[in-house]
């Protein structure tokens, strides 16, 4: 139970939370800024959970958004179609329950695809998970109860800064504690050399399925948060490109570094919006259509990051506050 003593990270997070909240209440940060922070935090949850699968365990999943889709649709169905609740404080328990059930459903799907496909490695696993993501999307397109190609609409807006922040923090702590426990050593052993890990007596299948299940759980919760933030879930949101974006965040931050995942999720989410701001201001000043070049610049910056920091922003290093001290282990 010692690993629950995580004061430094907790204090840092609490400090950040209070600062953002105070800045928002005093009008220093407007709601647009807060909206980007919310989206960044959802991406933190997605990237950190993918890090458990791709980074720590060394598997290659290309279907992370598929898990998020399961979470979004299951939780959205519960709050919208089953209970049809208004987003008031009294109804929050239903929302939290819906999020957890959505996460569990995603985890179940993670286990289901985990068992047959974990016999595969590397590129082959990547293709299977890619296929899985597309299958989820196609299935959702064809279920008319949840809107089919029109999407699941009218989801109550339960997600806000508080909920999103807490979920991102919990995800980070759980994955961090897991990574720096004996389970974590098993994950790392599989990443470094699966055959050797098996020879020293590790049940590699069990650990791989575990990584998939836990990663999928948090991805499902993140999907639920996204649905309740945008007040809708649409099959196309959870397609291949969405999974690739999370993967890009993971690699830009550094595979295996949780600090890197957090930084990259924030940096890349803010980058698109900062570019929009800067280019719009510049085109106002110069009267040139610079705004059109936003996504080109974005891609260019990503290429530059990968050229000059092949290992990602953080490599495999962690910030000090994310590492558990010996006495906490």
């Amino acid at each position: 139970m010692n690993s629950l003593k995580t004061p430094r990270l907790l204090f840092a997070a609490a400090g950040l939370y209070v600062v953002i909240l105070v800045m928002n209440l005093t009008g220093l940060l407007n709601d647009y800024f807060l909206h980007i922070i919310n989206q960044s935090l959802i991406y933190v949850t997605l990237t950190v959970s993918l890090n458990l699968i791709n980074g720590l365990t060394g598997q290659f999943s290309l279907g992370h958004m598929g898990f998020a889709a399961v979470g979004a649709y299951v939780s959205g169905t519960i709050t919208t179609l089953l209970f049809n609740v208004k987003p008031t404080l009294v109804n929050y328990p239903i929302f939290v329950l819906a999020l957890v059930i959505g996460g569990l459903a995603a985890a179940l799907v993670g286990v289901l695809i985990g068992f047959p496909s974990l016999r595969l490695k590397g590129d082959y696993l990547a293709i299977v998970t890619l296929g899985f993501g597309e299958i989820i999307r196609t299935i959702l397109n064809n279920i008319s109860v949840v809107g089919g190609p029109r999407g699941l609409l009218g989801i109550p807006k339960f997600s806000n800064f508080h909920v999103v922040f807490v979920v991102a923090f919990v995800t980070l702590v759980v994955v961090r504690n897991l990574a720096q426990s004996s389970h974590g050593r098993a994950f790392l052993a599989i990443r470094e050399n699966e055959l050797a890990a098996e020879l020293v007596g590790l049940n590699t299948t069990r650990y791989k399925v575990m990584a998939f299940a836990i990663g999928a759980f948090f991805a499902g919760v993140a999907g639920g948060l996204l649905g309740h933030l945008l007040q809708m879930a649409h099959p196309t949101q959870f397609g291949f490109l969405g999974s690739v974006l999370v993967l890009i965040m993971l690699y830009a931050g550094g595979v295996g570094s949780l600090t890197g995942s957090v930084i990259a999720a924030f940096a890349l989410t803010f980058l698109t919006e900062t570019l929009r701001m800067v280019l719009d201001s510049l085109s106002d000043m110069t009267n040139l259509p610079l705004g059109d070049w936003r996504m080109v610049l974005y891609a260019l910056l990503l290429i530059l990051i990968m050229l000059f920091r092949t290992e990602g922003l953080m490599g495999t290093r962690e910030a000090k506050i994310v590492v558990l001290k010996e006495d906490q282990l």
Binding site: Y32, L230, Q231, F270, V278, R294
Partner: protein, 373 residues
């Protein structure tokens, strides 16, 4: 850490800079998918909005001020849509929004506009749910069932049909909705539906349904599918000996229709938002101006974006203020001839306006007539 602070500071400065702006302009938000899967829609839409604003500014602006379009790209993605709607409302503090193109993105943006009390008009989102979000949400295009109604009226009154048959895709809300609306209106006018046949999604052989239809010997056949299915259906029904007219919706609007369908789609008519060959002065003027500025013919998206912007600016002018409630009420009271017809909003904030009928003649799309609902 120093570097991290520098980056943070630069970001804050960037956001701060973008927040600055003169008070002597009226800011209108414009949203469209400028990049991504529907980028051509976004480019056309932005052109339409720009043209409308340029015209108004040249004519003295709005409420004595110049108008500034704050355009944002939604990438055709609902999440991005929610972000840009928040940006336009909270950061740029626009007084109204014209956008966006795709229904799924509009549905992510509309609740934000509704909650903030910022009136918005979507040029081309046909999903009926869009305006159900709230009383600040309008649209400039007609919704799907409306085309069926207009098609029925045209078939009964202009083509003189008294019996009709319909064929549609059972797995597609759009085609199903159109056919049901057609059947309801045609029966109401005094005609009778002699066949009403569904085909499965993705079918390429429609002979079973078409044989039934031909045996019932209708005066007119209503085909609400998209152009590729329409072309196949037309070929097969002509082979079975049906020579009467066929009527459909804006899903027919593609050069591919005649390329695939050939002679079979002749004597075909479809409802559309506007025709560039329409002789109304609004249309002629718009097509000429658009051609002069962009060197191309305006498509339906550019037209509806232009109309959407025009309607919004007119509503603000009539309201005499940039207050959200005033604009909303002025919008509801609007009755204005624009390029795609004379627009007036019903109680669900959907436009009641005319549709044009386009005829396929000699392999070309020819303007036939304008039908009022």
């Amino acid at each position: 850490m120093k570097r991290a602070f520098l980056i943070l500071a630069a970001t804050l400065v960037a956001f701060g800079l973008a927040g600055c702006g003169g008070q002597d302009v009226i800011k209108i938000g414009g949203v469209a998918p400028y990049t991504g899967e529907a980028a051509t829609f976004g480019v056309s839409s932005k052109q339409g909005m720009e043209l409308a604003i340029e015209e108004w500014n040249a004519a003295g602006g709005l409420l004595g001020k110049q108008i500034k379009l704050v355009f944002a790209d939604d990438k055709g993605d609902p999440a991005e849509g929610a972000t840009v709607y928040t940006k336009l409302i909270k950061q740029d503090e626009v007084v109204a929004i014209v956008g966006t193109v795709m229904s799924k993105v509009t549905l992510a943006g509309a609740p934000i506009a509704q909650n903030a009390g910022v009136p918005m008009i979507s040029p081309t989102s046909t999903n009926t749910k869009v305006t159900e979000v709230g009383d600040y949400i309008f649209r400039a295009c007609f919704i799907d069932p409306f085309q069926g109604t207009v098609g029925a009226k045209f078939a009964f009154e202009d083509l003189g049909a008294r019996t009709a048959a319909a064929i549609f895709d059972v797995g597609n809300d759009y085609t199903k909705g159109l056919s049901e609306a057609f059947a309801a209106k045609f029966t109401e006018l005094g005609g009778s539906m002699v066949a009403f046949e569904a085909h499965p999604t993705g079918a390429t052989d429609f002979k079973a349904q078409l044989t039934k239809i031909v045996q019932a010997n209708p005066d007119v056949l209503y085909v609400s599918d998209y152009y590729n299915d329409v072309a196949l259906i037309a070929k097969q029904v002509r082979e079975l000996g049906f020579t009467g007219p066929m009527v459909g919706g804006d899903g027919w609007d593609s050069p591919e229709l005649t390329a695939i369908g050939g002679d079979a789609v002749e004597n075909g008519f479809f409802t559309n938002h506007y025709s560039k060959d329409d002789t109304r002065p609004e249309v002629r003027e718009f097509v000429a101006k658009f051609n002069a500025k962009f060197g191309a013919e305006p498509d339906a998206l550019a037209t509806l974006a232009y109309d959407g912007m025009y309607l919004m600016l007119s509503a603000i002018k009539n309201a005499g203020s940039t207050d959200g409630v005033a604009i909303k009420n002025s919008m509801k009271a609007l009755r204005l001839p624009v390029v795609s017809g004379t627009v007036q909003f019903d109680e669900n904030r959907n436009p009641v306006k005319s549709a044009v009928i386009i005829e396929i003649k000699g392999g070309k799309q020819v303007y036939r007539t304008t039908v009022n609902p």
